[in-house]
Amino acid sequence: MKRRRFLAAGIALAGLPAAAQRFQPPQDITPLLMKITGGVAAEKRGVEVVLPQIAENGNSVPLRVKVDSPMTADDHVKAIHVFAERNPRPLVASFHLGPRSGRAEISTRIRLAGTQTVTVLAELSGGRFVMGPAYVLVTAAACLDESLL
């Protein structure tokens, strides 16, 4: 990776940002989780996080989330929050569902700035929270590795 920057300087290509190979360590997302849970402990169960084992490019990684829930008026998932601990902005997205959603299941494509654990927090009706993780190997980091050419 250092060689690429040296050669790029050699042929005067300004396209490769100096920060391209910045290493971003994982952050502690507990404060972000607490902002949502208000301090209520999230049970580590009932949340299936499906991500590829290896993501070729962190710019677009397919994510599927399934939360165990009967999805009734009395017992349903109100929201699903996705956190990526090594992303410059760890809260990726929040999805809001309701009792008539039928299923607490979301599919999407996210950016991952490097190999890391993705944590999904689900907010249930009745004030409870559940969460689940998934670990992904990411070959080219989103946000940090950049090629404009």
């Binding site: 290509l13 590829p52 290896i54 070729e56 710019n59 677009s60 070959t139 090629s147 404009l148 050419l149």
Partner: protein, 227 residues
């Protein structure tokens, strides 16, 4: 053998979720939009694009009499824009040119590549073949050394492809956008640390023609998805 990961292949095969289709949709709308001093849409001459453009991209690059040279799809589109619609040429990699190229290329989906290399196209074909086998750049590599002699082997954690042009223009995840084959070929030049030929240059079109002939018979899936 597959050269892209399962997720990238799934994205390409997903008719709804393939991001390249957004450009095809945009292109379909532009096809009907009047443009230039002639206030003419593509549709006003070519009618329904799904019918008139069927199989066209599969024959490209092709010798174009109005331009006096072999041209890629982008250049043929701009020839229409400038000569027939009497508008300003669409810049390379602009949203409009990508959209129209994607729309036209999509009409050849499922059809085998079949470019002509005889007559007026033969000089460009020979030039393309010369480039393909010629070492270049600071790394002093020819296309053939990776894409003929070492396809399928691993380089920098990725499988070396055969360098087929079939699914282009393609949505490249690394660029987070649909991109032209020319942009991808220029990136190959960068890959061996060679000076990149300008967009629309004779060398790039010649290389595309050689690659298309080399790929003859392979079926297009444009717009494709690549990592």
């Amino acid at each position: 053998m597959e050269f892209q990961s399962a997720d990238v292949r799934a994205m390409q095969a997903d008719e709804f979720g393939n991001p390249g289709m957004l450009w095809v949709e945009r292109g379909a709308a532009l096809w009907k939009a009047p443009r230039g001093a002639a206030n003419a849409s593509c549709e006003s001459c070519h009618g329904d694009g799904a019918r008139s453009m069927k199989g066209v991209a599969a024959r490209y690059p092709a010798y174009d009499a109005s331009l006096g040279r072999v041209a890629g799809v982008e250049q043929r589109i701009n020839a229409c824009v400038v000569q027939k619609q009497r508008g300003d040429a669409l810049p390379w990699e602009s949203q409009d040119l990508l959209a129209l190229t994607a729309y036209v290329a999509h009409q050849s989906r499922g059809m085998p590549l079949a470019p002509r290399i005889d007559g007026a196209a033969s000089a460009a074909y020979e030039r393309g073949r010369t480039i393909y086998f010629e070492r270049q750049g600071q790394l002093n590599l020819a296309c053939a050394q990776c894409h003929d002699a070492n396809w399928g082997r691993t380089l920098l954690a990725e499988k070396v492809s055969q360098g087929q042009p079939v699914d282009w223009p393609a949505y490249r995840v690394e660029w987070q956008s649909l991109a032209s084959l020319e942009r991808r070929l220029r990136a190959c030049y960068f890959g061996v640390r060679a000076e990149q030929p300008a967009f629309g240059s004779e060398d790039l079109v010649a290389l595309q023609l050689y690659l298309s002939k080399r790929a003859q018979g392979l079926v297009s899936n444009a717009p494709g998805v690549r990592r």
